[in-house]
Symmetry: C2
Subunit: 382 residues, 2 copies
Amino acid sequence: MKHSTTEIGIVQTQFATVADELVLESGEKLGPVTLAYETYGELNAGKSNAVLICHALSGDAHVAGYHKGENKPGWWDDMVGHGKAFDTDKYYVICSNVLGGCKGSTGPGSVNPKTGQPYGLHFPLITIGDMVKAQQLLIKQLGIDKLCSVAGGSMGGMQALEWLRSAPDKLESAILIATAAMHSPQQIAFNEVGRQAIMADHYWHDGNYYEGRSPAKGLAVARMVGHITYMSETSMLDKFGRQQKNEKQPFKFTADFEVEGYLQNKGDSFVKRFDANSYLYITKAMDFFDLTEEKPLHEIFKGLDAKLLVIAFRSDWLYPVWQSQQIVKACKIAGLNATYCEIDSTYGHDAFLLEIEQEAHLVSHFLKRVSNGYDVTGEYAI
Amino acid sequence: MKHSTTEIGIVQTQFATVADELVLESGEKLGPVTLAYETYGELNAGKSNAVLICHALSGDAHVAGYHKGENKPGWWDDMVGHGKAFDTDKYYVICSNVLGGCKGSTGPGSVNPKTGQPYGLHFPLITIGDMVKAQQLLIKQLGIDKLCSVAGGSMGGMQALEWLRSAPDKLESAILIATAAMHSPQQIAFNEVGRQAIMADHYWHDGNYYEGRSPAKGLAVARMVGHITYMSETSMLDKFGRQQKNEKQPFKFTADFEVEGYLQNKGDSFVKRFDANSYLYITKAMDFFDLTEEKPLHEIFKGLDAKLLVIAFRSDWLYPVWQSQQIVKACKIAGLNATYCEIDSTYGHDAFLLEIEQEAHLVSHFLKRVSNGYDVTGEYAI
């Protein structure tokens, strides 16, 4: 374990049964519902310093610090800790694994109490709204009435948007990074390819694979597609070019180029930590998410008190800047207090995990102003 | 069969054994080598009006007209025929299925004369150079010493570039559409995902599937990925938006959105006409193609007599305009006679099959000038 004393150190995932039975958006009932979560820092006496971080498709509750015996910190450790953007000396940071996930929260791999077997495809379809509903129950259990902020990138940003829509009086602000108010057909298409790759796997067995071999090859292909969309053409050129791997193998369709090896490694390591059925359920929730389903974006934002920070990355072609601009435009029409920043990164969608310096500056400045009750309106490009 | 008398009408694929044994770039020997090809129009007395059209990854020799009993014309029928861009009243048009293909030319699905069984993975790795070498033998067999033009989009353009490199005295001109002098890591990455999807299929059996079930699901996933890259974000928005399919099915991970149904249909129809092993071999040939392997592009073009027409499409993100501009820039440095046109289409890479009107205008004008011996230099955006 390599971590300095300025970092969070060892953390432990906790578990909360947030509902004996949750009525889902579909009308179906699911229960009991457990959420895995982690917290960092201390809740202040006024209970006004809680920040909820929502994770993206493949994330989990372990956003920062180290699990005992592990060398790898949480997925956004650069952003969360003493003196960092989400400063745990000031804020009480909470992160929970989404409903439908596979890292401790109730999902398709959980045991169905009615059968004693894993749910598999008997797990009901869930929505981003359902994920947020479960989070709201958790936040209430933690004794918090109003969050200082809900923050997230990618699918995390969708959850933050859903908080704004469904419980606007429960948050002071939202930080939306590289996200969208709804998926475009291209985003749906990439998710669908991932799903088809999983379901094409011989070992998927209609989702009943928990006692045998898992659909690892299909899930690896899904992850490979994902990783292409997380990078940019430029970042791939910078990182790999046409560099070939040194070892020549007798097999004709081995990884000849560095980029192939990279994708294969990403696929292979993903299958060790993620459940294929969760991939199906979560991507479907993302695809069905449409904040404008009932009314236009600017009407949802109308009259809200919350302050918004919206960050997009110029080379992000999976969640292109126009999707963030669409959100900001609706804020302007609604008169909602919003800051928009476009960061000139080459990292593509991955930038939200990599462009730490600029992101940290924006987030810490924004949170400070939110805590102090200042206006945040402004627009700048970096 | 619905086709007017102004069209080519019924055509038949022909077959030529172009070599008893072909020495490949790798040094391996392959034989006999058969190419499937079609011709349209008449070779003139001076044998100076022959145009070779090279197909893309999933194409074949059937570029125009109808096969007996079929309703669907060849893959570029809009461009080839009486009075069309490749005017069969003026030009003798030839198109052959590539070496490694599955539509009549020798490929991994062909019978290995040494074993009496399909080659499968015993088929040697082939290159774009090998494909072109086989084409050159075919052209010679047809009694043609010098082609008026070699034309192609995507991988077809790579073959035209390879003609320029390996046999510059054998062609008067080349038409390069939506192509590249080498694949970028992003292009390699998308091909690799397709290959991994095929090889992940339980029925692939290391390429030995010709007597049983084929790896149809894997090949369908590969094709789905392909189709996303052939369209643009805009064309997907225009064509599908977030339109949902009407029929609600009990299965949770059915195609809910139009775009999902479209991709699934494309995948399903592709597996009926294409061989998974050919997909592996041809994509590998594309990825390894690098015109600049021995010397810079402008040195390859130096001193060449051929005239070039280079066409790119602004929304094509699979073969982005910078790759065409790179070719044109090298032409300028080398003093090679080249016209560059950027068409402002929203169709993405598919534009080369869809933007017929503008493409036809450019091609017919170019071929006329080539036939008349005029200069063609110029640059315009449409």
